[in-house]
């Protein structure tokens, strides 16, 4: 619960300082992760699904949400190629499912991916096949975004949701 609420606090802070002001100014805000991350991750940690959704009801509903989907093995391979050590919470080590970080990651993130799949229908996320090349993905992304772009400025916000 504290994990969930701390992230919600951080999100609220960024929403009020980094997201709403540029939206008011007519800018496009690109959010690297959003409330959906919390929906998937917190439910996997055993927090009530409906409660998390109500908690985040102060959030602005994005005009467009893109979900980059990859199978768990590819995601793990990519991470291992870049970093030696998996992050404690990212691997769900706090849940005590496995003492092996890679195994814990596979179990935890596997469940997180299942939660994302629920969200796709519930919130109408646009699924992008993130297995393909960056160029291919970017082509899809640009096509999806084009209806929303008409010469506005862009603000990027990121971090942990």
């Amino acid at each position: 619960m504290t994990f969930s609420l701390l992230h919600a606090t951080d999100f609220a802070d960024r929403l009020l300082y980094k997201i709403i002001p540029p939206l008011k100014a007519g800018m496009i805000v690109l959010a690297d992760r959003y409330a959906y991350t919390a929906f998937a991750r917190d439910a996997t940690r055993g927090v009530d699904r409906q409660w998390v959704r109500e908690l985040y009801s102060f959030a602005v509903k994005p005009d467009l949400t893109m979900y980059f989907r990859v199978p768990i093995d590819i995601s793990l391979d990519r991470l291992m190629a870049r970093r030696v050590k998996l992050k404690f919470y990212e691997a769900g080590m706090d849940l005590g499912w496995s003492s092996n970080p890679a195994e814990s990651f596979r179990l935890f993130q596997g469940k997180v991916l299942n939660e994302y799949d629920r969200l796709v229908d519930e919130f109408g996320l646009e699924v992008i096949d993130a297995v393909g090349s960056i160029t291919d993905q970017q082509r899809v992304v640009r096509k999806l975004i084009s209806p929303y772009v008409n010469g506005t400025h862009t603000e990027i916000t990121g971090g942990t949701v």
Binding site: M1, T2, A12, W51, R53, E54, L55, A59
Partner: protein, 253 residues
């Protein structure tokens, strides 16, 4: 993202003492925990802490295990809340969420384990202070009730009721008016006295509006410490003693 059912479950039916108000914490079932949760509520400077100290001693002498918990006292969140209060970055929404995080930490780490172990848990303030403060600051009430749906409904909620005039006298005698207790963040004016009066008046109205919903037992906080304590003990004894009788309690009669 509108909440589908923003009401605390208890609000449309019966609140059940010792159960979660709303959706609760699925990974922490609490049914059957033998402990009792007693909350003492009331605004700043009303005498809660004094009453809790006296009640604790009395309960311990009678053979009860007593645990105490108080608002913003969680080891996880206290430094963060103090820091946030001293800077100018706090927004009313992040304020509410920080308090909720503090409460969640104490609930999981202090309150629920103590209830499981059969303690009487005395809570110096409970979620009602948070609901009142946030309500005064214009945060959506159904959202707040849904947020605190993970809280446990106390077995007893005592509300130390006071009027603003008496409160002002006490606070000035004791330690003076403080920035947050005066609601200076609401910027109703530069005068701390006027702000205190306006803010505390609103807070008291919020508490009053919750009295029925959450089964407050009102205690007249204008009475003497001894008188209030006596009434508190009488009601606590009535509640606890049919439920469990420690050897000392039985002998004492």
């Amino acid at each position: 993202m509108a909440p589908s059912d923003p009401r605390v479950e208890g609000a449309n039916g019966e609140i059940q003492a010792g159960r979660y108000y709303g959706r609760g914490i699925p990974y922490l079932p609490i049914e059957g925990h033998p402990g009792k949760l007693i909350a003492i509520e009331g605004t700043d400077g009303v005498g809660r802490t004094t009453q809790i100290q006296l009640l604790r001693e009395w309960l311990e002498v009678r053979g009860y295990g007593v645990a105490e918990t108080g608002w913003t006292r969680s080891p996880l969140m206290q430094p963060t809340i103090e820091l946030a209060k001293s800077s100018n970055t706090l927004n009313k929404l992040t304020f509410v969420l920080l308090y909720a995080t503090d409460f969640a930490d104490r609930l999981e780490k202090e309150i629920i384990p103590a209830l499981k172990a059969g303690f009487v848990v005395l809570s110096d303030r409970y979620i009602f202070s948070a609901l009142a403060r946030a309500g005064v600051r214009g945060i959506d009430r159904p959202w707040l009730r849904s947020l605190y749906g993970f809280a446990i409904a106390p077995h007893l909620v005592f509300y130390l009721k006071i009027d603003v005039e008496t409160l002002i006298g006490r606070v000035l005698e004791a330690r003076g008016m403080d920035f947050w207790e005066s609601g200076m963040d609401l910027k109703t004016g530069d005068d701390i006295y006027d702000s205190f009066r306006t803010y505390q008046n609103k807070l008291l109205r919020e508490y009053t509006s919750m009295a029925d919903e959450f089964h407050f037992r009102n205690l007249d906080a204008r009475r003497s410490v001894e008188h209030i304590q006596e009434e508190l003990r009488r009601q606590v004894a009535l509640f606890l003693e049919p439920a469990e009788k420690p050897a000392e309690a039985a002998l004492a009669r």
